[in-house]
């Protein structure tokens, strides 16, 4: 049973005993069965953060002190200086593991120190021998050398560094007219660790940090890895990826409190609204489709199969998750799951005709429905954050259209006042409902 569930149960026991639901002996048996609740997570998080900051600062300070006298050192001395922090970090890791794996704070601190020491060693040797810069090669080697430490130390911050390294590598590979398909197998190498961490407790600080990192990295790296020989396909891919993230979060990871405990929902939901707003303009719909196929040297048609695979698989995934959400009794989530529909329809129309009016209209309607639907969902479930999100979406759409149209100051002023009054009135109504016993 998860720690927070045990904490909740223990908090309930005095009331249950006092109300005669359980006797004191039964309450004691429950406490004996589940055992003591570990120390307050806030304290552990503080310890872990201090350990990490300490490791990073000590490592950086050592490098800075040695760099001050770098030019006076022989090559042999520089080699020792380059490898010494790495040897120390490795020694600490082995020592800690030999003594029994250590606390989370120790493992995270040593893990970060080890990752930075690996990078520093390679970089300092490169400086000593004037090795030409190859940022892509450096990031790839660094990622390969720190990935095993992620599993062996069971530390999440090295995993975050690994994700950052492979994303950086993908960006570099694409920028030098290569292709970045290698990102996906590299990402898959970290997947077992992410799965294992989430399975233990998906709402632990460790798991949440990893989920946030993975969600953000996926959003960035998907766009980087697209080969883009077929212009505009990114619209379909992102219009499916973001709902998949949102729906997966609401289906499997919806018990957390607060937006920090819902990374997939936040990244996916915000992404859906932002993407839909972008697609209410006409510029994304120009020059897309088969008639604008790119034959540039830097575009590799052979690597474009990933574009097609994502454009097919992600909308299918969004459809499946939408059906699952409806079956679970959450029809409001269809608002977000439906984003691929206007995207695919708009893409097909713009590609076939070269015109943007219909896709623009489709997305204006969709975004309005998304905003109003989110607002209604928030009102019905008495969730102020959701209500405000819905109002924000509607406001963004109205403001965007107002700046598009040739309207005078008076009309815009009235609209802003109306929007502001709308926010205030809605919040007052909701607060009143909550006070008179609306659902929490």
């Amino acid at each position: 049973m998860k720690k927070r569930h045990v904490s909740w149960l223990y908090a309930e026991l005095p009331g249950l005993v006092g109300g005669g639901v359980l006797d004191a002996a039964a309450a004691e048996r429950l406490r004996a069965h589940y055992g003591p609740v570990p120390a307050a997570s806030g304290r552990r998080v503080a310890l872990t953060v201090c350990s990490i900051l300490g490791a990073v600062l000590v490592g950086a300070g050592i490098i800075l002190l040695l760099a001050h006298n770098w030019s006076g050192l022989s090559r042999a001395a520089r080699t020792v200086v380059a490898l010494a922090p790495l040897a120390v970090a490795q020694g600490l890791a082995v020592f800690g593991a030999w003594r029994g794996r250590g606390s989370i704070a120790w493992r995270e601190g040593v893990g970060i120190f080890l990752c930075l020491a690996v990078a520093a060693a390679i970089a300092l040797v490169g400086q000593t021998y004037h090795i030409p810069g190859d940022l892509g090669g450096f990031l790839l080697v660094w990622a390969a050398l720190i990935l095993p430490a992620v599993y062996l130390l069971d530390a999440v911050l090295p995993a975050v560094l690994y994700l950052a390294a492979i994303t950086g590598w993908a960006g570099y590979a694409q920028s030098v007219a290569g292709q970045a398909l290698g990102f996906w197998p590299l990402f898959a190498l970290a997947a077992p660790f992410a799965w294992q961490t989430a399975r233990r407790d998906p709402y632990s600080p460790k798991a949440l940090v990893l989920e946030w990192a993975a969600a953000i990295v996926l959003c960035i790296a998907t766009g980087i890895s697209l080969e883009k020989v077929l212009p505009g396909l990114w619209i379909v891919v992102y219009a499916a990826l973001l709902p998949v993230l949102f729906l997966a979060g609401t289906y499997w990871f919806d018990e957390g409190e607060g937006f920090a405990s819902k990374p997939l929902q936040f990244v996916g939901g915000t992404g859906v609204a932002v993407l839909a707003l972008l697609l209410t303009y006409d510029w994304p719909w120009h020059a897309i489709g088969w008639s604008h196929w790119r034959y540039l040297e830097r575009c590799h048609a052979g690597a474009a199969w990933v574009d097609y695979l994502l454009a097919a698989a992600l909308p299918a995934g969004a459809a499946v998750l939408s059906v699952m959400a409806v079956r679970r009794g959450h029809p409001w989530r269809l608002l977000y799951g439906a984003l691929p529909l206007p995207a695919v329809a708009g893409y097909a129309y713009a590609a076939a005709t070269g015109h943007a009016e219909l896709p623009v209209l489709l997305f204006n309607v969709y975004l309005l429905a998304l905003g109003v639907g989110t607002l209604v969902w928030g009102v019905r479930s008495a969730r102020l954050g959701v209500v405000n999100a819905g109002m924000l979406i509607v406001a963004a759409l109205v403001v965007a259209r107002f700046f598009d149209e040739d309207l005078g100051f008076v009309a815009r002023g009235v609209a802003f006042i109306a929007l502001g009054l709308g926010f205030l009135v809605t919040n007052l109504v909701l607060l009143k409902r909550m006070k008179t016993g609306g659902a929490a």
């Binding site: 030019s71 790495l86 490795q90 794996r101 040797v125 030409p132 050398l145 062996l152 077992p192 040297e297």
Partner: protein, 188 residues
């Protein structure tokens, strides 16, 4: 996947060896080249003043910057080629020809074609394009390198050690002396 506890210590020890092996192999190969490789001198080419110094190193332009592929034909951007080295009357390296395969004998350096092309001369990417300097020496090193790399006043050059096509930059010379020596002499 959960790593069993009994595997963690041996796993970390093995990882430590691999992590040390990467920089160690970089060092050993370059040390062997510096000790036993053939010494060559390459003139440095004029540089764009905006690129002459980035961070802690001097960006080098190497002369010759281009050469022709023996036998002509299509070359892809980034393709590895082998620059067969000849020495001119002043003792500076020049490229006799570019080969697609590793030569069986002689002095040569593995290079890459900067851009693809059908025939004619190709822009070369030499495996030594930067010289790292201590940060406090950077501004004066930059000024010295630029002054001695201008067209009509090029007397800067680099010494490189080459062994079986693998090249390691040994030193940057300005005004006939190593850059460190030049900066010491010019120190106010």
């Amino acid at each position: 996947m959960n790593i069993p506890s009994r595997w963690v210590v041996p796993g970390l020890a093995a990882l430590a060896l691999v992590q040390l092996a990467v920089p160690a192999s970089m060092i050993l190969r370059r040390e062997a080249t510096l000790r036993t490789g053939v010494a060559l001198r390459f003139r440095t080419a004029p540089v764009d003043p905006y690129d002459a110094f980035r961070g802690k190193f001097v960006a080098l332009g190497i002369d010759p910057a281009d050469a022709a592929v023996a036998g002509g034909g299509e070359v892809a951007g980034g393709q590895r080629l082998y620059a067969v080295i000849a020495t001119d009357t002043n003792g500076f390296a020049s490229v006799a020809r570019l080969e697609r395969r590793r030569p069986a004998a002689g002095d040569y350096v593995a290079v890459r074609a900067l851009y693809g092309g059908a025939s004619g001369r190709l822009r070369l990417q030499w495996p030594f394009d930067r010289y790292y300097m201590a940060e406090e020496d950077a501004p004066r090193a930059e000024a010295a390198y630029r002054a001695h790399s201008r067209r009509g006043a090029q007397d800067a050059f680099v010494t490189v050690r080459v062994r079986r096509g693998f090249a390691v930059l040994e030193n940057l010379h300005v005004g006939g002396v190593p850059i460190a020596e030049y900066l010491r002499r010019e120190q106010p």
